[in-house]
């Protein structure tokens, strides 16, 4: 079963790890077509927040809502519409790019059965083309460069056409050309109706890409506003550094 949604909302979300407060009373909402930049210094709580949005981490307090649903009861159905590219790439280095994608396509039920096609498209082949890895599709991932792995990991995260796309530092290891391709890709999936949440330290790349800005510091949200020009200046004014 797949549970679709048009909006995500966090209401007073808090998360403690023992006595350490990783996220404290964070609230914001995002709808289809938005690219939300989750910005903040190291230890601000970005990854924890991403984990909670991905249903991998339970909030200690507050609530994460996906439309009218919560992760507690509708977890598997919601996860069918969530794609996560974390700092670790979620790839098996011993498998080839094609085997990695085929495995995750099967897990997400988009392997298309006998002919491998869903809605007339072979998702695995399309992802390999999109990652620019079609000619090395059968090589083990352990032999790939960081940039190639990053591109493959992004395609793995987008393989099932998620509504909510969570990206933690998606530009790591990418050259300028690849950054441009990924940026265009993210804008396109947002324009097609996805909700994109992007955690990054790269303010130059975030500027011009994100449509909303959520700033975190020490686990607290210090700003939630529309993104505009002068992102770096705004960030320095609110966060410092």
């Amino acid at each position: 079963m797949i549970a679709d949604f048009d909006q995500i909302s966090l209401v007073d979300v808090t998360r403690h790890f023992g006595r350490r407060r990783a996220v404290s009373r964070v609230s914001f909402a995002a709808g289809r077509g938005e690219i939300v930049g989750l910005l903040g210094p190291n230890g601000a709580g970005k990854s924890t927040l991403m984990g909670m949005l991905a249903t991998l981490v339970s909030p200690s307090g507050g609530e994460v809502r996906y439309g009218q649903r919560g992760a507690g009861r509708d977890g598997p159905a919601l996860r069918a519409r969530i794609g996560l590219l974390a700092h670790e790439l979620h790839l098996y280095p011993e498998l080839s790019a094609r085997q990695n994608l085929a495995f995750f396509a099967s897990l997400y039920g988009v392997d298309g059965g006998v002919d491998g096609r869903v809605d007339g498209v072979d998702r695995v082949e399309a992802a390999l083309q999109s990652a620019g890895l079609a000619d090395r599709a059968d090589d083990d991932v352990s032999g790939y460069s960081r940039g190639m792995r990053q591109r493959l990991a992004l395609e793995r995260a987008l393989l099932h056409g998620p509504r909510l796309v969570l990206l933690d530092e998606p530009f790591t290891g990418l050259d300028d050309r690849a950054v441009g391709i990924v940026t265009d890709r993210l804008k396109r999936i947002a324009s097609e109706g996805a909700i994109v949440v992007l955690a990054t330290h790269d303010l130059d790349l975030a500027e011009g890409l994100v449509t909303r800005l959520v700033l975190l510091r020490d686990g607290r949200m210090i700003a939630d506003e529309a993104a505009g020009p002068g992102l770096r200046t705004r960030y320095r004014a609110l966060v410092g550094g």
Binding site: L56, E88, L89, H90, L95, L107
Partner: protein, 225 residues
Amino acid sequence: MFLKVALLVLRKDVIIEIKSREILFTTLFFSVSCILVFSFAFVSEGQAVGDVAAGILWIAIAFSGTLALGRTFERERYGETLKALLLAPVARPAIYLGKLLGVVILLGLAELLLVPLVALLFSASLFARPLLLAALLLTGTIGFCAVGTLFAAMLVRARTRDVLLPILLYPITVPVMIAGVRGTAALLAAPPDEPVATMWIGLLMSFDVVFVTLALWTFEPLMTE
């Protein structure tokens, strides 16, 4: 769908193992070394000292099983692929079942070498009742791996996982070890004591049902941070 996911996870683990052969070879090497060391200690002039064969077989299974469990989940830790599995829109207990099946098969392959080796080195008549022995090994291996797979998955993010896994695993699987050793010893008796071996197999089956059910039930909450 539940079984399909478990088989997908199993298939993926088998493909990785066929490519790397890392866990199978290290497990075999370790378990054979373990049995050889015991044979130096307990075999004198071609004769085993006392009825040690059953205990040594199960010690080798437990040690090599612990190694296999640790390595299997070390693979999922690298690249945080366990998180990717948990993020998939599938029943999380199916992931547990897939991993469990993989470890059971791996340990089963190791036992194919261990049993003849113990029989040879300790002059033990392990093949007198092959079906009962197979049933004992299968039920014992499932019981041991059912608990081990759950703990190994839980500890995947712990820095001291290599130390904690045996500390947590061995006390809880003591009943499995006792049943395995006593059942095997009954088969090694002259003549083989079939009713006693069958009783231990029944007990192991009960352990398996309890352990697997509890693990399937607790896997999801234990894996959610």
